[in-house]
């Protein structure tokens, strides 16, 4: 048995009251590829941020041993010094600099502050050869594709004498060929003494390449599978990731489902900058009155893009397809038009897209509904107070009053302010994007209750969520979205975490074949 290179013991990390990691252990052996898998929000990235020093030593509990020594990092530099390098999902390269400059960024080949460009280029050559990238070091990073950029990131890590390489979803943005090359490289690095931790949703890759797999769920260890000793295939891994009784509770609701209220046919949208890249591909779905419909899928599946492109073309370009409301075809030209026609969208990122943080509760609630409290463009501020207060009470927003600045509210209450805004618009169709992200359990329950009430009033609700138990608990039907397409639809009875995962994986294989 090889030596243990990394040992994390009892790691516990809390974010203002929410426990993200609860006594997680992770043990990585020398010269292995160790996969870390789990659902979105299970705590994988948090664990790696603890390891790489993004969260300083004082902010978590537990012990980290690296090469037999106890270590405590205060920032990324500390962890890089001992040879732990993390490559994040969003690449940290600077597009306007050359490959060589990027490789040695923060690690410049210099003597007393003066850069030696010849050494920079020649060492870059060596590193690029190691990772199998045939590009000149002076090429600008923006001129090479994402797959090659990923290799530059790895070269950058090698330049720092990496011993333990952490890759967070390295193949998420790559095509199959590029992915294969990357995986081959990891195996090659392994034979040269670089240990890797791989975080990935692509379980076929995990199955192919890793020596051991650690599964975490809800911030806790589930199990560690070893190749050759345990069953080591996708179905087994999925079971570990999701296999549990649903213990969360969902408020009861009358499922009185009426006529169809919203239908989308052949909806296709292209990327806002890359005009040939299809982001939403031929999407068809419908929502009935009183129905809560779910969009399940992995991160980057295209769920947000579908919802935002429908909401007044807020995302993408070259929209095509048809939208029907109550059986009549409509066009949603822009956001204001969409609001007027009774279709509202609640963004997944309330701080960036939902709220004007420096304004008070009243102004935030009324922002999308000023016409309702105005006469020919002139506001009736008293009427505004009365109406916004009604929604503040109805959703029990806990604030000092209407004039508290929303910045100072808790996440759950901020979300209720956003919901108040959209309820005041009285939509018939409500597109909710991750409505419970980043809020505590109690507030979640309140949000579920509100959603149920809205459904009971006869609104059609689309709920996008990355938390599968939430979708299973709340939805009457679940569309599974993958690669910007509808991969399948499951009824409440058919839907389970396994069936959703299977639908995704099957569709993924089809996409690869095409």
């Amino acid at each position: 048995m090889a030596d243990v290179v990394l040992e994390m013991r009892g790691i516990t990390k809390r974010f203002s009251g929410v426990t993200a990691l609860d006594g997680v252990d992770l043990s990585v052996e020398d010269d292995e590829i160790h996969a870390l898998v789990g659902e979105n929000g299970a705590g994988k990235s948090t664990l790696m941020n603890v390891l790489s020093g993004v969260f300083p030593h004082s902010e978590y509990e537990g012990q980290i041993l690296f090469q037999g020594q106890e270590v405590s990092f205060n920032d990324i530099k500390d962890s890089e010094r001992v040879g732990i390098v993390i490559i994040h999902q969003e690449l940290a390269l600077i597009p306007h600099l050359s490959i060589a400059e990027n490789i040695f960024l923060g690690n410049e080949q210099a003597s007393s502050g003066v850069i030696n460009w010849n050494r920079t280029v020649s060492r870059s050559h060596e590193l690029l050869k190691k990772v199998g990238l045939d590009e000149h070091p002076n090429t600008l990073v923006r001129n090479i594709g994402v797959g090659k950029q990923q290799l530059v990131e790895i070269a950058k890590a090698l330049a720092k004498d990496v011993k333990l390489l952490i890759l967070d979803e390295p193949t998420a943005a790559l095509n199959d060929e590029e992915s294969n090359r990357l995986l081959d490289l990891l195996e090659d690095l392994k034979s040269h003494g670089v240990t890797s931790i791989l975080i990935s949703h692509k379980l076929n890759e995990v199955e192919r390449i890793s020596d051991r797999i650690t599964v975490i769920r809800d911030g806790k260890n589930v199990e560690t599978l070893t190749r050759g000793r345990d069953a080591f295939h996708e179905d087994r891994i999925i079971k570990g990731m999701v296999g549990r009784e649903i213990t969360d509770r969902w408020p009861e609701r009358d499922h009185e489902i009426g006529d169809e209220v919203f239908r989308v046919e052949d909806w296709t949208v292209y990327h806002p900058q890359q005009e040939h890249r299809r982001v939403v591909n031929n999407v068809n779905f419908f929502i009935r009155r009183g129905e809560v419909v779910g969009f399940a899928g992995l991160m980057g599946a295209g769920r947000t893009e579908i919802a935002m492109s429908l909401f007044g073309k807020s995302y993408g370009q070259k929209h095509s397809g048809r939208i029907f409301k109550n059986g009549e075809e409509i066009e949603l030209r822009d956001v204001a038009d969409s609001i007027d026609k009774g279709v509202a969208y609640v963004s997944e990122d309330r701080k960036t897209y939902g709220l004007v943080l420096i304004q008070d509760v009243k102004n935030n609630i009324s922002l999308a509904n000023l016409k309702r409290v105005a006469n020919g463009g002139v506001l009736n501020s008293n009427e505004e107070i009365v109406q916004t207060e009604a929604y503040r009470k109805r959703l029990s927003v806990r604030s000092r009053g209407l004039d508290q600045v929303v910045q100072t509210l808790s996440g759950g209450n901020q979300q209720k302010v956003v919901l108040s805004k959209w309820l005041m618009a009285e939509p018939e169709v409500l597109l909710l994007d991750e409505p419970t992200r980043g809020i505590d359990v109690g507030a979640k329950y309140e949000i579920y209750t509100i959603i149920n009430k809205l459904a009971a009033e006869g609104k059609g609700i689309l709920m996008i969520s990355s938390e599968m138990p939430e979708l299973l608990g709340m939805c009457d039907r679940i569309y599974v979205v993958n690669g910007g397409e509808i991969a399948g639809v499951l009824t409440r009875e058919e839907a389970s975490q396994e069936s959703i995962m299977k639908t995704i994986m099957t569709h993924q294989k089809q996409l690869v074949k095409e």
Binding site: Y345, Y353, Q359, A374, G377, V378
Partner: protein, 390 residues
């Protein structure tokens, strides 16, 4: 007394600035040996600062969106030059010239607004380009020379007074006194009506005596001003113009959908857009409006100098921007009031005027104005940090 304290605490920034203004006034009244509040000087204060206050009003809307406009000083000169050519060389009637000048200003603003809002060219570059273009064209049009004189009716915008200068009670102009009383009456009626409205809706209103104190303070200030002006030439026409603008833009920013959209755009453009605010259009309108205001200021400047000169309006953009920041606007957008910008402009104006009377050299005046700007913004940052901790 507690109520008074809490009232002041809730409006600390605005009241703080007004108090600072009063303090500066009292200070200069003492150091200039009473010259500051002499009727002639009060009259001069109004005339000297009118165009900066007009510019500050327009600039404030731009600053609320989180941007600035560096071109206004040049637009002031350009509009002055064009009007001078029209009136002096082509003998175009005054009325037609004024309308044309305002349209040109709006067109210039629309040009900037189009580039910034729809073409996404950074505002700093667009308005810097505008600053050079309109200054350059001014020199081209004037061939580097001063063009004068203008018709008296044109000068009246900047230097004229309400008619009836000889109707006097003692040494005081009756029209000015009546004007002050009417203004006070309008103010009291509006305030009481809004209070009654609030009571009708069942909202909490500040206790009557605080309201009375507020009314008393403002009525006193208004009548002191008109009293002083009455002792000189009466009410300057530009003061009426200014009052009209302040009233209109305060209403626009505080009481209309458009105004609310400006604040939302400045506070969080993405969220505003996803709430149905047509952010590009709002931004375009704000820049167009600023061009219009610059044109208005350009007319006032030309009228006051009774000439169009290539150097008119130099650095005015900076005075306007400083006024807004001293008056509590935030450089990151979403915060600021018209009244604040006016108070900020007055602080700068009184500083200028007071120091000039005292014989402080121009070099030191600049320095002191810079320090005041920094102190005001420093105060802002401190109180904001405190607010976040609370």
């Amino acid at each position: 007394m507690n109520q008074l304290v809490s009232y002041f605490r809730n409006n600390i920034r605005q009241n703080g600035m007004v108090m600072a203004l009063v303090l500066i006034m009292v200070l200069f009244q003492l150091t200039t040996g009473g010259i500051l509040f002499r009727p002639m000087n009060v009259n001069n204060l109004v005339l000297q600062n009118s165009y900066v206050l007009i510019l500050a009003t327009g600039m404030l809307l731009v600053i609320i969106t989180g941007r600035i406009d560096l071109s206004v000083g040049s637009v002031v000169a350009f509009v002055g030059a064009v009007s001078a050519v029209m009136m002096v060389d082509w003998n175009v009637p005054v009325g037609v010239t004024i309308v044309a000048a305002l349209l040109i200003g709006a067109a210039v603003g629309a040009f900037h607004g189009y580039l910034i809002a729809y073409m996404k060219i950074p505002m700093f570059i667009t308005t810097l380009g505008g600053m050079l273009i309109w200054r350059g064209l001014t020199m081209v049009i004037l061939k580097g020379q001063t063009k004068a004189p203008f018709d008296e009716s044109f000068q009246a915008i900047a230097a004229g007074y309400l008619p009836g200068r000889d109707i006097r009670i003692g040494s005081f102009n009756t029209i000015a006194l009546v004007f002050g009383l009417i203004l006070s009456a309008i103010f009291v009626v509006l305030l009481l009506r809004s209070r009654k409205d609030k009571v009708k809706y069942g909202f909490e209103v500040p206790p009557g005596w605080i309201e009375a104190l507020r009314i008393g303070f403002i009525v006193l200030a208004v009548n002191l001003l008109t009293f002083s002006l009455a002792d000189y030439n009466g009410i300057p026409i530009v003061l009426i113009l200014l009052l009209g603008l302040v009233t209109f833009y305060t209403f626009l920013t505080q009481n209309t959908i458009f105004g609310r959209h400006i604040y939302a755009l400045g506070g969080n453009a993405k969220a505003a857009k996803l709430s149905g605010v047509k952010t590009e259009r709002v931004l375009f309108m704000v820049y167009m409006n600023n061009g219009l205001m610059a044109a208005l200021a350009g007319l006032v400047v030309a009228g006051r100098l009774n000439a169009a000169t290539p150097k008119a309006g130099t650095m005015f953009e900076l005075d306007a921007i400083a006024s807004c920041f001293i008056g509590g606007a935030s450089a990151t957008g979403g915060v600021g009031t018209v009244i604040g910008a006016i108070v900020g402009g007055l602080v700068m104006g009184v500083l200028n005027n007071g120091m000039s009377i005292m014989g402080v050299s121009v070099d030191w005046q600049q320095t002191i104005k810079g320090v005041v700007l920094l102190i005001a913004v420093f105060f802002d940052v401190i109180t904001k940090n405190k607010g976040q901790n609370a």
